[in-house]
Symmetry: C2
Amino acid sequence: MQTIFFKNKPRMIATGSIAGPKECEGVVGKYVDKTLLDDMFGESTYEKAECKMLTYAISKTIENAGMDEKQVDMLISGDLLNQIISASFAARDFDFPFLGVYGACSTLAESYALAATLVDGGYAKKVVAATGSHFSSAERQYRYPLELGNTRPPQAQWTVTGAGGAFIADMGSVNDGQNYPAITCATIGKVVDFGVTDVNNMGAAMAPAAADTILNHLRDTGRKADYYDLIITGDLGALGSRILKDLTWEKGVEIRENHVDCGEIVYNVIEDEFQGGSGAGCSAVVFNSYIYDKLRKRELNKVLLCATGALLSTVSSGQGESIPCICHAVAIENS
Amino acid sequence: MQTIFFKNKPRMIATGSIAGPKECEGVVGKYVDKTLLDDMFGESTYEKAECKMLTYAISKTIENAGMDEKQVDMLISGDLLNQIISASFAARDFDFPFLGVYGACSTLAESYALAATLVDGGYAKKVVAATGSHFSSAERQYRYPLELGNTRPPQAQWTVTGAGGAFIADMGSVNDGQNYPAITCATIGKVVDFGVTDVNNMGAAMAPAAADTILNHLRDTGRKADYYDLIITGDLGALGSRILKDLTWEKGVEIRENHVDCGEIVYNVIEDEFQGGSGAGCSAVVFNSYIYDKLRKRELNKVLLCATGALLSTVSSGQGESIPCICHAVAIENS
């Protein structure tokens, strides 16, 4: 059993999000709280811009929940940069306890799962969970500095510049009569490694982890795939999404009708992005703006958010290792 | 309120640990499960050796608990390497769900706090929490490759080569009549930054975070400092430990009698280590061998483990940032 059930149904009472100029040309442009015209966000380095976006997303999430900082019991956050400095430095700006997590691009779902656990068990009443990423800081950390002008292979994805978070609270502590979406259960992933070594082909590396977690989630919950209005993965991209659909289909689970990938839909024009978006910011921006809006409007009522992460580093790749991947799934449902 | 209370008192039923040759010359040598004669552990790189140590610590923890892998519900782990590859690659070797965490050298206490939360709330019955570090991989990642032969300043510490973990289980699922130490509460730290920028002086950077968490812990629990037989910090080192004692004393809390730092006691001979040990492996090795043994023998009955972490990266330091720090505290008590 990999699935945790939340009997007290912690509520997701608000989200906050911010995205870069390229991202806001796409579907999320109308839904994010702030659109950046310049992806430096007034800072002198990409890393500082990434941290500032995450700080903004956390603040905005709290504001959108109608709360102030003093009411927040805990922040759970992580990001893609070495030593998760965006999250750590963002946490420095706030006066509440901080738990750092790392699951590469699966960080959003991991932080939601832990936030829901803390709230459901009565250990905290109000938790903010957030993550983000920045194209330019990710490129120079994981691949090459942009100044080198390296050619990108067709299977590559484009790290999303953006950040997003959610305010997860227990029902009793909100009590404003509104019916917010609840986190009903979470499936914690195992590390899955299919031996992919191409660091430009994250979709293929991560799809088996997504398939594993989705299949285990359905087994644990006794649900059919069509129980969900939407099974949304984090950043498999177009190729990875196709592989996922094939892998689940091979196991007798058809998700063709209700599966979409955040990376597939985040960009409007597929130019340099090839397979679409990626990064911790990908699901953070898409879920916390566009998808959450649809949940609140009840255009979607049952969503399974499956954020996938590739747990590699440049050192592990340089030492000839393949790419271990993970996927955590969180069910968010209107009642 | 930063403190979480565990009313069901999750038990720490076993630990597992491994340490390098230099470490085993000291007090932990008699207590660890495995002493390495060669810090490469038969691997071709320091990073692979670090990962293998962590894998060993996880396996040994499960074995020492008298369990097999199939009985483990979850692994919570993290480490100091970029993208926590030691933990992620170690998790690949096991068939249970994995939550990656990052709190630099505070990772042990963070993972214990989360494991206790999951077990106490009934979300998991048996959780392994582990971490580790390696002197040589940390040096080349955070400072300079060893081959450069850089001189170490007198305020520097020596990253511990070792790994350790604990098996945290609910009382009902063990039921062997033994009275194991319980995790009774955990205080989640805030990020504290006193503006220290010297990356060789981690003790001074982290001491204010340790003081903040200890003072908040005592306030939240209503306990006096002398409630604990031992208040043990993770890796402040000799200098940091002195600063901590001064900082708490200024606030009217005297911990001179019952405080010791893992980094201060881990090495026998202070040669190149100057202020003592550091790293995620420091508290992991000392607590999970020497201290746990004393808890089991009831030579110690109430221990507050306060693992401190410096949340910097080489990039943040290079960009002129100071060092944000954190400390999480976990109370482990015999009843």
